[in-house]
């Protein structure tokens, strides 16, 4: 309640599919989804394993609230060891697949081993089978989705798939579900492709129920939906402008990383902003944005549905891209726009389409292109590698050329598919890689927003904004305003956000609710739905337990405190943008305090004391 208490174990080496009961003792400690799947991964795999070898496992996991009427309860996560970072990977996605999986009767799918030939998993309620997918191998996500629907004949079948980039070994390939929702980061799609698993198709008609106290639950759900509706961010900003509501805001405070983070403000920011997506274009009078769209059960509806201008060079001869598809989110628009210096909204939207079509993480892709551009301008990469293309900052043509090559892994696309860290090493400029633990930065300059520096440095999956989104406090004043320029108090802020977010990610809810909700709003919904007493304190405790479990996994995988670091550029090259001029990220003022608050050793190890406190495994 409302775990289905069933796990689907798929052994790809043997081609077997088996049902087993969910470990409810672990669910009581780790909730579900992110936390619970990590507990399974820790129990069943060696953290030192080859992420792309058969010993790594790939877990699709829903939360106990996934598929219920709680607003945003659409989510599922993919947990595995990342080939990009060598650390834990945990990528969260919305859309409709997670709820469908739950409605089919499954909390979790554990994929193990490696199939000798391409396969897909077909789930219709309790019936699950592996079927050959030789005909789908070599196809894009969109083509795969179309062919699976053609075969199933049921438009309600939900599909998650990897594209050609993953097959070609791009290290930041995503798993795309429902055409344009992504378990995006850390190369979870690359792991899926390494197992010869092309797609997962799900149809669930059993429903999600077994609510502990239905009357209290429905009352609580209605009240909390109202809280989201009345909040300025979740009720107005996000539906109207999407996450792109941030582009102009972050640029104005001088924290929009630009040209591979050389600068902290982008002249062309407005042209790729959420506001620009509403402006009618010259050719047909239509705006880039057609409508906003929701994931399953979400009453915020921040999703963007967009078109590219048909007269734009990227698609003028490609009618297959003239329709609507998933439009720009802020992080994607930043990575492929500001960070590459490109302010061509249609080009960035088209490149976003291709990232969805062939399953690439747009953040890592954009940031890797940005690093390549800087190396091109320095002469380390030449026209020899780029087939004569001028790989300069600001070139929409170069950006489009890059995405089409990473999508298939051909030519220089294979190099770009390595990600920023390995690309910069290969071409002799490791200092130009804007990464932590090998994962590319998202869209907030830690020189301008200090808490985000600590967030990036200590994130268990490498540079990431979604592990502790202190932007909420430091920029937007949620739940209370802190000064983005100071480091004082940020260690505590980051820890609190990290623990709370781990709990949110484990219940099945979207972290964007936290602009309006705290755990105080979530616990009553969780408690009315699920067995056991779910208080705010218990959720926070579970969050901290999950964080430590992930950390411990990383240490056992070979990472150390030295990996909790930022590139020199952010520590030494001061911001040149007026609002943040002269600032660097003062990580050294925050990190020791953070370790102390965590109760870790001075070199960042989880202590036996903590292990005992949270009953963490060995």
């Amino acid at each position: 309640m409302t775990w289905t208490k069933k796990v689907l174990r798929v052994n790809l080496t043997e081609g077997s599919v088996n049902e087993e009961p969910l470990n409810m003792d672990w669910a009581a400690e780790y909730i579900g989804q992110r936390g619970l799947a990590t507990r399974y991964l820790v129990a069943e795999t060696d953290p030192a394993c080859d992420p792309l070898g058969p010993d790594n496992k790939l877990i699709f996991a829903t939360g106990p609230l996934t598929g219920t009427a709680v607003s945003t309860a659409a989510r599922y996560s993919v947990i595995t060891k990342s080939p990009l970072t060598g650390a834990i990977a945990c990528s969260n996605s919305g859309g409709f697949l997670g709820a469908e999986l739950k409605s089919a009767g499954w909390d979790m799918i554990i994929f193990e081993g490696k199939s000798p030939s391409p396969v897909m998993l077909n789930i219709i309620n309790e019936n699950a089978e592996l079927v050959p997918a030789d005909d789908l191998w070599g196809k894009s996500v969109w083509e795969t989705d179309r062919l699976i629907h053609e075969k199933s004949g049921d438009p309600q079948t939900r599909v998650a798939a990897v594209g050609r980039s993953a097959e070609a070994g791009c290290l930041y390939s995503a798993i795309i579900n429902d055409l344009h929702r992504a378990a995006g980061r850390s190369g979870v799609g690359t792991v899926m492709a390494s197992k010869n698993l092309k797609a997962v198709a799900v149809r669930g008609t059993r429903g999600v129920g077994n609510i502990k106290d239905p009357a209290r639950f429905m009352k609580s759900v209605a009240e909390e939906k109202q809280v989201l509706a009345e909040n300025a961010v979740t009720g107005q900003g996000l539906p109207a402008l999407g996450t792109q509501v941030l582009m102009n805001v972050i640029n104005e405070i001088g924290a929009l990383p630009t040209n591979n983070m050389q600068l902290s403000q982008f002249e062309g920011a407005h042209n790729i902003s959420g506001e620009a997506m509403l402006e009618p274009r010259k050719s047909d009078g239509k705006p880039n944005l057609t409508t906003n769209a929701a994931c399953f059960g979400c009453t915020i509806a921040c999703g963007r549905i967009s078109t590219v201008d048909r007269t734009h060079f990227s698609i003028e001869n490609k009618p297959e891209y003239w329709g609507n598809s998933g439009g720009l989110e802020y992080e994607a628009a930043w990575a492929m726009g500001a960070d590459t210096g490109v302010d061509d909204l249609d080009a960035v939207t088209y490149v976003n389409f291709i990232c969805n079509e062939d399953g690439m993480d747009p953040i890592s892709f954009g940031a890797t292109v940005a690093a390549a551009m800087e190396m091109y301008e320095k002469g380390a990469i030449t026209k020899e590698q780029t087939d004569g293309v001028e790989l300069k900052f600001g070139s929409a043509e170069a950006l489009v050329w890059c995405v089409e090559r990473v999508a298939t892994g051909e030519g220089f696309g294979a190099d770009l598919g390595l990600g920023s860290k390995r690309l910069c090493q290969k071409y002799g400029h490791p200092e130009l890689s804007m990464t932590v633990k090998g994962q590319e930065f998202p869209a907030y300059d830690p020189r301008g927003i200090q808490g985000m520096g600590l967030t990036y440095a200590t994130s268990n999956r490498g540079a990431c904004h979604l592990r502790s989104y202190t932007v909420a406090s430091e920029v937007l004043g949620i739940p209370e305003k802190t000064d983005p320029a100071v480091t004082e108090g940020k260690a505590g802020l980051v820890k609190a956000f990290q623990d709370a977010t781990a709990a949110v990610d484990s219940m099945g809810l979207c972290v964007f609710t936290t602009f309006a909700w705290t755990l105080d709003n979530m616990a009553p919904q969780m408690d009315a739905a699920c067995e056991g007493d779910w208080t705010v304190d218990r959720l926070v405790e579970a969050g901290e337990r999950i964080w430590n479990l992930e950390r411990d996994y990383n240490i056992k995988a070979g990472l150390t405190g030295a990996d909790d670091n930022l590139p020199e550029r952010l520590l030494k090259e001061a911001s040149k943008a007026a609002p943040t001029e002269g600032q660097v990220c003062n990580l050294d003022q925050m990190l020791p305090e953070y370790y102390q608050l965590r109760g870790w050793t001075a070199d960042g190890q989880v202590t036996d004391e903590l292990r005992q406190k949270f009953s963490l495994p060995g």
Binding site: Q156, A229, A294, I305
Partner: protein, 158 residues
């Protein structure tokens, strides 16, 4: 006052809160596949359209039913299926020109929207007022207001 469900697809975000509310009200769990209201997604066009029974006065389903299992609720105006009487012959599903009466394989009876007895759960759950439950004789008011705002006089005052 008799009221009707009114649907404005322009406001729909495709979140399926209506489908969850409908299935919870009628089946006791969150199960869009059992919902009597359906949201259709037109991906290429970027449109979401909720669709359900319009409760025709001269209802084809009611006329076609050989055992008189479908009757009007005179309070709500809804055409309701009496599960005790329904024999599951499905003639009503053929008769309905809109496809909004459907067979439930689990029960062997047909199901359709009954306006939840006068308090439709879908309209309550909808976060964007794409589905509303309004005076049956004034369902066009909002559209009239939009068009009225486009007239010269209204333009001049804004």
């Amino acid at each position: 006052m008799q009221r009707s469900l009114t649907i404005d697809p322009e406001k729909c975000t495709g979140c399926l809160q209506c489908e969850m509310a409908c299935s919870f009200e009628n089946e006791g769990n969150f199960n869009p596949s059992k919902s009597r209201i359906k949201v259709f997604t037109f991906h290429e066009e970027g449109r979401f359209v909720p669709y359900t029974c319009t409760q025709c006065d001269e209802a084809w389903c009611m006329q076609a039913c050989p055992v008189d299992a479908i009757k009007m609720n005179f309070t709500t105006g809804a055409m309701e299926v009496n599960e005790q009487t329904c024999v599951g012959c499905k003639v009503c599903t053929i008769a309905c020109p809109f496809g909004t009466v459907n067979y439930n394989v689990d029960t062997g009876k047909v199901v359709k929207c009954d306006l939840c007895g006068g308090d439709p759960a879908c309209a309550t759950a909808c976060p964007t007022q794409a589905i509303t439950y309004v005076d049956a004789s004034a369902t066009g008011l909002d559209k009239m207001r939009v068009w009225a705002s486009k007239t010269d006089n209204a333009q001049a005052t804004t």
